[in-house]
Amino acid sequence: MGRLSVNLCGIELDNPVIPASGTFGYGAEFAALYDINVLGTFSFKGTTLAPRYGNPTPRIAEAAGGMLNAVGLQNPGVDAVIAEELPKLRKVFHKPVMANVSGFSTEEYVKVCEKLDACPEIGWLEVNISCPNVHGGGMAFGTDPKAAAEVTKAVKAVTTKPVIMKLSPNVSDITAIARACADAGADALSLINTMLAMRIDLKTRKPVLANTTGGLSGPAVFPVALRMVYQCAKAVQIPIIGLGGVSSAEDVIEMMLAGATAVQIGAQNLTQPFICRDVIARLPAVMDAYGIENLKDIIGGAL
């Protein structure tokens, strides 16, 4: 095992760098740019049971140090992902991929996970619980410890693959959700998803996003994400994937010191398409500069 390798729920990663869901599609656009096998793995676009068009445009707005998106989980649906995207991916990516799953009811999460459980290409199921719970009155699963635990248990019951629960930062105490997921049997957590935000156009005096609000991500959120990773790492024993504003090899190390076993990079892929490849290439030099022999030794080093 190399200096950069880490172990995520029993699967060895060559390095801890993982493009985040929604910023890497199903891999094809980036496979055309560089050999994506240099990645630890990547998390594919949030996938739901039925195809989803998502929100009307504009879906994108800018912010200082980041961006807002209100894509609304556009995806072709799980059956098309299995029939069309995974066979294409197999040709260019030879590592286990992380499947990102979304749903609007516990049953939907379960059905999607059941289908993805049968796919040998998939290493982990990353369950995004930031979507509104249509049965529970529209509140996001990720803001209610009971609902988060229910989804975790239900998904765990239908898969043997490691289940990573992806947490929303839009809560007053993220450790309560983290504990609920861990107690319900989650194998790992990933955090954070985007922060609820909005922008108004001064010329039209209307919200920039057709959806009015969207999720903020990018370097602006890094300190918030880091703080939440640190708090959750103190609260639970399971591995944590840290993300939110990561844009350099230094940020990867900082996230790992806060308790992250692996690190995802999201919005930065959109504006610097080679960022993940470049961060991985630069990690050894930055490790040398800070006297780090093996990356796995620093996980939780600041706790």
Binding site: G22, T23, F24, G25, E29, F30, A32, L33, K45, Y53, G54, T57, P58, R59, I60, A61, E62, A63, A64, G65, G66, M67, N69, V71, Q74, V208, G218, P219, A267, N269, L270, T271, Q272, P273, F274
Partner: protein
């Protein structure tokens, strides 16, 4: 698509709030008129998508209108400065579809990508007419440049200060054509769609997260399915467009 560093060779105003910038460097990824580039600007997280107005072996030209802080920043840049640019984005116009008499319809800054298209059409000996619409006389740019490439150039201004008084569609009435290409603000594209008497192609704009197909930020519904303006567009064929009216 390529990520390249391009050097500013020229950057000067050519009309009210409109600038022409020439960027030199490796532009080999740019393959068709109607494609765009995505420019990184210091201090802004998102890149700025701008159409390629012309492209030769080792340089490309863009025309841009100052509308916000990014384009205002670009207007302050001096020759010699370097820009981080994603090149060769989007599908571009389909030159093979051109047949018979071709009409080009540009609205405001939307005329920019039609220039390289006009040059390619001229090289193929195609009979082209350009209709260029502006708000007023001070906004007009590239009229002599289009005149050098097109058999006819008709200018239209909303206030009548130059050429036909009215919109590009008012100027379209008397023109005979077999195929058309158009780029401009969406209300103008809709008007051209309704007024057009032949098949043709439309170049669209949308707010973009990436510009190369990764984020689903720019999707629109078409007759042939969901399309990403940045990757499956920005140019759509008339028959694909799903406008109700």
């Amino acid at each position: 698509m390529d990520q390249v560093v391009l050097t500013i060779k020229e950057n000067a105003p050519i009309a009210r709030d409109v600038y022409r910038m020439v960027l030199a460097g490796d532009v080999s990824a740019v393959t068709a008129p109607g494609q765009f580039i995505n420019i990184a600007l210091a201090g802004s997280f998102l890149r700025r998508p701008i159409s390629v107005c012309d492209c030769t072996g080792d340089a490309l030209t863009i025309l841009y209108k100052v509308v916000g802080h990014g384009t205002a920043q670009m207007a302050q840049m001096a020759p010699g400065e370097r820009l981080d640019v994603l090149t060769g984005l989007g599908n571009g116009f389909d030159l093979r579809a051109a047949h018979g008499r071709v009409l080009l319809v540009g609205g405001g800054i939307g005329a920019a990508p039609l220039y390289w298209l006009a040059r390619e059409l001229k090289m193929r000996g195609v009979d082209a007419t350009a209709i260029l619409g502006f708000n007023t006389r001070e906004d007009i740019f590239y009229a002599p440049e289009f005149s050098a490439l097109c058999a006819r150039v008709i200018l239209a201004t909303a206030d009548g200060s130059c050429g036909v008084k009215g919109f590009v569609t008012d100027a379209m009435d008397g023109v005979e054509y077999d195929y058309f290409y158009t780029c401009g603000p969406e209300p103008m594209l809709k008007a051209v769609y309704r007024a057009s008497k032949s098949d043709g192609e439309f170049s669209f704009e949308e707010r973009m997260g990436c510009g190369f197909g990764a984020c689903m930020g720019c999707t629109c519904k078409t007759i042939t399915g969901w399309k990403r303006i940045c990757k499956d567009g920005p140019v759509l064929r008339k028959g694909e467009i799903a406008w109700a009216d």
